[in-house]
Subunit: 283 residues, 2 copies
Amino acid sequence: MAELVSSNKVFGGDLRKYKFKSAALGGLSANFNLFLPSQASTTTKVPLLTYLAGLTCTEDNGAQKGGFFEAAAAKGLAILFPDTSPRGAGVPGEDDDWDFGTGAGFYLNATAPSYAPYYNMQTHVTLELPQIIEAAGLPIDFTRQSIFGHSMGGHGALTLYLASTTKQYRSASAFAPICNPMKCQWGQKAFTGYLQGGIEEAKTLYDATELIKRRNEPVNILIDYGTSDNFYKQGQLLPENFVAAAEGKNVSMRAQEGYDHSYYFISTFAPEHIHFHAKFLCD
Amino acid sequence: MAELVSSNKVFGGDLRKYKFKSAALGGLSANFNLFLPSQASTTTKVPLLTYLAGLTCTEDNGAQKGGFFEAAAAKGLAILFPDTSPRGAGVPGEDDDWDFGTGAGFYLNATAPSYAPYYNMQTHVTLELPQIIEAAGLPIDFTRQSIFGHSMGGHGALTLYLASTTKQYRSASAFAPICNPMKCQWGQKAFTGYLQGGIEEAKTLYDATELIKRRNEPVNILIDYGTSDNFYKQGQLLPENFVAAAEGKNVSMRAQEGYDHSYYFISTFAPEHIHFHAKFLCD
């Protein structure tokens, strides 16, 4: 069962931190934050928006710096903030680099033998956390879910949205996402490290540009990135590839002049992302 | 001269971090952040709101977690974020405790011999930073200034506002301020450590409750604190003493049910504090 670690009142709602032993992450202790708006009660379940953070982050970065709560409180949306990887798995090499291993789970299920017992962030986010939250008796309506994220977490949001065979999420949005990880250094490093089949294995599962190509139904996707983002300039994000692959599929891709990769950029457009999801969740 | 360290676009404006050698802080390198709204230009100077952070913080906490920029951008206000103490003075004992010394300058000018050469945060905030900003040619209208802060920084905002003989600030506001530091452990420790004359020396200079007693003119002060704030419960803040001393002097003191001492509390009421100051600054 999830144990309540702390609780902070914010914009009339509650931000709660929980920890629990995660089956998806090899039995390790995992944390998550959950914002419950004041509308949530024993008689009223609220929709759930999941926020996936980027490289090096934890469950706290989006909660502390994202600027999501004013709009979420107004719209009556809960927000789930998972961590970005297992912590303390002890796999050799997992702490050598900032862009792989701890803090860099890439929201996939690992198949490489040393990572597979622990690095199953896809299952953790999509299946395990909803189960844990439901078991805790928290007033969430799991039939109304959407997902968003930043950078590696933007990759996570797009791929978990597009790859879901059950249509778990009604909409996806992202700040400066890694859009075509097969084609950038971050993604290639992650896929070759976590997946036994490497990049080829990732192609149909974990690459948003590949996934949107194969998508026939309409999508609900909003993406913002900054033109002064150094990772964009270095070719880690590749939004142009995603846009080209998504032609005619209702993707709103906005290049924001002068913004960078930081939470200052995220917080600026945070209210618009919350309102975008509210259109699909608050019906 | 101030050297630009970094710049982040946020809500259409610019958050800039500068460093410079601080005369007030004994020649040590000091950092500050300055938010410039998009209204600021070579032909338009904007008002300045100074935000003083609390114990253990730096110039970054308020910028990253305060949630001030959306409202400040809308109102066209600049926000200055100073650090909370000198860094690296090397005074024996300054790093022994989290509530004294580094990160805990208390916005006073020290007179105890070992601290006096470095710990002059009052001069740093009120005199030196405006001079440095003006010398950098930044478009600030220094005839329109107000000040706010959190906890130790709320103490700073109230005392610098009330003690200013030149009426440097038009209004002051605070989140969970230390209102009567002579009467609480944090303040007593600071005053006996930094001031040769100890608490008696602090009485007419650095205690907001004492200062408001002596004030005859009307004031413009807004204070919020949370009823679930552990430091409030421990008697570190003593807002009741300030209210009693301020009777009839136009102080708005609000007890916010269930909120604690964190930036989640601050961010919730941040827009109202910005709008409060804008009434006095945007005329």
